[in-house]
Symmetry: C2
Subunit: 196 residues, 2 copies
């Protein structure tokens, strides 16, 4: 049910801004409500991304594939997060990334044009968007610091702390890819830790 999905979004907004019922009446019809089955793609490399995607349930991953065919996961998005390729959106060029569903998921796609209209017309929505932006930038800064200063094991421990709940729903090989280490190395790190 779309309205159930939108309800999750409404709850989410309360963290960042006080939107009125009249605001929500303008926002709701703009959204495109999608269910994604595990493995299904939301964006494929080469397509141009046009949305702002809110994840209501499940989990998506954003990854690129290198020349050798290896996948590199640049980000996960679980419920109450956003996903998309800002670079493709802003430049209007084909994306270098893929986004697919790690688990069965429900998302709301806000087309960029309508989304920007909401930003202009609804000050609370605008405020929320800026806050979310700031927070994702800070999150990526923390992640960079983790990568340049930590060993494989420390990165994994930092991951468990920074994204509690992720480790339970995301396969280990994807976590390894996110951390920039091999699944074998992650497996060995976990083995040592569990024996303690």
């Amino acid at each position: 049910m779309d309205s159930a999905i939108f309800e999750i979004f409404k709850q989410y907004t309360k963290r960042y801004a006080e939107l009125t019922e009249s605001d929500f009446e303008k926002i709701e019809p703009v959204g495109i409500y999608r269910k994604l089955r595990k493995g299904q793609y939301m964006l494929q490399e080469g397509e141009t991304w046009k949305y702002h995607a809110f994840i209501a349930s499940g989990c998506l991953r954003t990854f690129s594939v290198d020349e050798k065919g290896n996948e590199h996961i640049v980000g996960f998005a679980i419920s109450n997060w956003w996903a998309g390729d800002l670079e493709s959106l802003k430049s209007n060029k084909p994306s270098k990334f893929n986004i697919d569903a790690v688990n069965d998921s429900e998302v709301i796609l806000f087309p960029d044009r309508a989304y920007n209209k909401l930003v202009t017309e609804l000050p609370s929505f605008h405020k929320m968007v800026i806050t979310i932006h700031d927070r994702s930038f800070m999150a990526s800064q923390r992640r960079i610091l983790s990568y340049i200063s930590h060993s494989a094991e420390e990165k994994y421990l930092a991951f468990l702390e920074m994204y509690p709940g992720f480790a339970d729903i995301i396969p280990k090989n994807m976590i390894a890819s996110f951390l920039g280490i091999t699944r074998e190395t992650l497996s060995r790190i976990r083995q040592v830790r569990d024996n303690q």
Copy 2:
């Protein structure tokens, strides 16, 4: 001369927005004009950051110091870039980072409150700020991808490509710290490349 520094800022804005002379008249008096000598600190760990700093000339670095006393450089900012600690600014909490001058530098500090006032009052300034935000987020995403998918040598080559000009003005040991490798490893990478 402060006006010479502001002139650099004026030129810079043209990339992102069309600000009028009347806009600039509002912006100029808000800025605090500072010269930093090599090694001088703009922000020290523990202080709360309150500004948006535009780099007119020179180069700054943002770094944290871990328990072992090792410095980890999370970012450089050369002329026509911005520096600061968004996390401290937004949370109003003491910063975990230091920012100091790699070379003699000139910066304009825009106090957060006055900066936000400019954002509200000048639509062009607002537009520019959003664009800059988006661009720094995209830059950090690219950097993350580089870290999870590249070897030490590939990271260095990607660095040379992504930040042309940086390698000439920044000491090698700092580049190594930025890349998350040791100065010895960077030295060996460069040795091999120069012999080709």
